[in-house]
Amino acid sequence: MAGGLEGPGPNERPHPEGRRNEQGIRIDPAAQAEVATERAVLSALVEHEPGVLAEVSGLFSRRQFNIESLSVGPTENEGRARITLVIEEPETGVEQAKKQLEKLIPVVSVTELDGEDAVAREMAVVKVGADDPDKVQAVTEMHDGKVVDTSPETITVELTGPEREIDSALETFERFTVREIVRTGTAALARGPQETR
């Protein structure tokens, strides 16, 4: 076998003590902590044109960003749509997701919406068995929901609210026979006169 080049071996060379973590941040090797993930709501204002949703969803899948929900719809401006994304990532991942989104040509702007300074809502529609209509009605009212359809066998309820409230409402509905659930994913805007951009 051909030998290669000459020079001191790996063990004969000086080696620095320093280390970086998975995010490429310099750390004290003795005190490396687990990197915690956070839930972030990103709002992207985009050009309302074909392929934008595919471009955004493709970006998130190919870069392995953890996406919890995505909702999209028109805005006050005819030529623009707004995409609201809920992601679960370490802080560096959230930053990277924002920058990658901003990089897409049809994306006009990206805002991260903090829980405190934003109103975030989603809708769920849940279809349960009609065995106990009074109790279904009671639970629906308890969660500010609305019965939107009934049949001899089923009751369909609409719920809106922050994601966590929907979670707990749906948990309560589990006492009935849940047949089907559909959720829209979060839609969010900045609170008060602040523009979401």
């Binding site: 076998m1 051909a2 030998g3 290669g4 080049l5 000459e6 020079g7 001191p8 071996g9 790996p10 063990n11 060379r13 000086p14 080696h15 620095p16 003590e17 320093g18 280390r19 970086r20 973590n21 998975e22 995010q23 490429g24 941040i25 310099r26 050009e47 074909p50 392929g51 595919a54 471009e55 493709g58 970006l59 190919r62 560096t92 930053e95 990277q96 920058k99 990658q100 901003e102 990089k103 040509i105 049809p106 994306v107 006009v108």
Partner: protein
């Protein structure tokens, strides 16, 4: 429109009829007009059903069209044209297989941020979505590998879309764009003339870095004891080579390049440590490992450069200059983010630095490493021809501004290690995607972008060359002066090297027990062919091939067991490179 409507028509009806009457050109003519408006001179493509209207419009154009043998070659040629000229290269293909054959080349341009535009035919709009003959969802397929792509919907706007695609490919962080052209749109009438293309309102790359960050980075540089500049492909793309040279020399800072950055700083300069990474020089990897301040310019910290991120420049603060904000802290955290144009940010830094760092000891240390880890290979008489010798022989026989293209594999590494590059845009290779077969089509594209008196040399491996050598038909037809040096070891050599190193020598599917006679193959194509078996034959074949006015192929039968060193195993620490097989076994 300035003419007054004819009174005998009601206004609405008039509009419609007048439009029809004034449809003085077609969408296809707008496409061609847009390309001419932005200064395109050469196109690389392959004909086919859905793109025929565009080709028909090209019939009357002054632009040169190079008919390629395969669409992949068209994309690579356009990509290389973009690298050498700095202006987006243009490739054309028809729908379906034409478009999918471009995909490898588009992905290659995307990974290396090469300016390129692809124009693809598409089935008529009313057939789209019906699985029509030669229909592929081209915008869908290419969305992840283009900077932006467009599906043309109107003959009136298609020209401007092509113009926008061109501008987007060229401006900001460069990259490939694509316009998909349904046949009814290119055949459709229009009375709108295309302009030169405008950037979308949503696209505003920053020119200058924020002053606050510039000052912080400048202060860090002033205080650094072991500064290193890591110069990437962005230095070349951003035309910042001159600024880099004066900056590094004025402040006495050693320069390491990435592979795509090869040529931005002269490799024979005392401050140049050549390139770092998996097969980079030992001294470049030592410098990157021990630096305390890394000024990285136009690089995306690819894993082949960094090795394991945990051990990459572990003692260094990093100042990262990049025009793409998304590259900042993507793979490696930037302590000083400097978002902007490479040349402009270097000027800003230069203005902000009050005094150069005291780097004398460090520069000396780097010099010691160049002596400790030299790239000196041996040429024992009893062993076959060494590939490194071949690279150096061709380098010596050609002028300093010679353009080198390569395929991917061991031959690519030897070419990049043993050729001494001095100028930007003379090194043309497939870095990020690692596309075997890139070399010959890239040489064709480079030939069209190069000055007439500039030589073009292509290094290929036997395995890599076999993937795209149909391009020889193009080189002969166009009588292109290209010298192809095949470093033939009858292996997919890099795979063989990894099998020996990491798979217990189980050489599965890497041995080519039979290779064609490349010299005779060249002959069959109408090119000039040479075969070299030993050191004695090198000089004559090189001279013969370079003197030949047209494409030539030299089949160098090299030492089949030669490996590429230095080597940092995948994910390993850059400072732990192996200089030879014995050291590799230690790791």
């Amino acid at each position: 429109m300035s003419e007054t409507p004819d009174q005998k028509f009601p206004e609405e009806q008039w509009d419609e009829e007048q439009q029809e009457e004034e449809a003085i050109s077609t969408g296809a003519e707008s496409v061609v007009g847009a390309l001419e408006n932005v200064g395109v001179e050469v196109l690389f493509g392959v004909q086919g059903g859905a793109i025929m209207p565009v080709y028909d419009a090209l019939y009357d154009s002054e632009m040169t069209h190079v008919t390629m043998a395969h669409e992949q070659g068209a994309a690579h040629a356009a990509d290389a044209y973009g690298i050498v000229s700095g202006n987006p290269g243009v490739c054309l293909a028809t729908s379906g297989p034409g478009a999918t054959n471009l995909v490898t080349g588009i992905a290659d341009a995307s990974m290396d941020s090469d300016p390129m535009i692809a124009l693809t035919g598409q089935v008529p709009t009313d057939l789209v979505g019906n699985d029509a003959f030669q229909e592929t969802d081209t915008t869908g397929v290419t969305r992840p590998i283009t900077k932006e792509n467009y599906f043309a919907e109107d003959a009136d706007t298609v020209g401007d879309e092509v113009g926008t695609a061109f501008q987007l490919a060229k401006r900001g962080r460069q990259g490939p764009t694509l316009v998909d052209l349904p046949k009814d749109i290119t055949q459709g009438g229009t009375n709108v003339s295309p302009g030169t293309g405008e950037l979308p309102d949503t696209y505003n790359p920053a020119e200058e870095a924020e002053e606050e960050n510039v000052e912080a980075a400048a202060a860090a540089l002033e205080a650094a004891e072991k500064p290193v500049i890591l110069a990437g492909g962005g230095v070349i793309k951003g035309e910042a080579s001159d600024e880099l040279r004066s900056f590094a020399r004025e402040h006495d800072i050693p320069v390491v390049t990435t592979m795509p950055g090869i040529g931005c700083f002269p490799e024979d300069d005392e401050l140049c440590l050549s390139w770092a990474g998996m097969h980079g020089t030992g001294y470049a990897n030592m410098a990157v490992t021990h630096t305390d301040l890394l000024l990285a310019i136009g690089t995306r910290f690819d894993d082949r450069l960094t090795g394991g991120v945990d051990t990459f420049a572990p003692e260094a603060e990093i100042a990262h200059v990049d025009i793409d904000p998304a590259e900042i802290s993507k793979n490696v955290h930037a302590d000083y983010p400097l978002i902007g144009d490479a040349e402009r940010v270097l000027e800003q830094l230069d203005d902000a630095i009050a005094h150069s760092p005291d780097s004398r000891e460090w520069v000396e240390q780097c010099q010691i490493w160049t002596e400790e880890y030299p790239m000196d290979y041996r040429t024992p008489d009893d062993e076959p021809l060494k590939p490194q010798f071949v690279v150096e022989a061709l380098d010596e026989a050609t002028a300093d501004d010679t353009i080198v293209t390569t395929g991917v594999g061991q031959h690519q590494m030897w070419a990049s290690q043993y050729w001494t590059f001095r100028e930007p845009r003379t090194w043309v290779s497939s870095h990020g995607l690692g596309t075997m077969g890139y070399g010959l089509p890239a040489a064709i594209g480079a030939r069209f972008a190069a000055d007439d008196d500039q030589s073009v040399v292509c290094f290929e491996g036997d395995g890599s060359f076999l993937m795209t050598l149909q391009g020889l038909a193009v080189a002969v037809r166009e009588n292109l002066d290209i010298t192809v040096a095949v470093l033939n070891n009858e292996y997919v050599g890099m795979v063989r090297q990894w099998q020996d190193g990491f798979f217990e020598g189980r050489r599965m599917a890497s041995e080519y027990s039979w290779c064609p006679d490349f010299a005779r193959l060249a002959d069959a194509f109408g090119a000039s062919g040479f075969t070299v078996d030993d050191y004695d034959g090198v000089a004559d074949a090189v001279e013969g091939a370079l003197d030949y006015d047209g494409p030539s192929v030299i089949d160098f039968h090299i030492d089949p067991e030669e490996n590429v060193f230095p080597m940092v195993p995948s994910g390993g620490a850059n400072g732990q490179f192996a200089m030879n097989n014995d050291q590799l076994e230690e790791l």
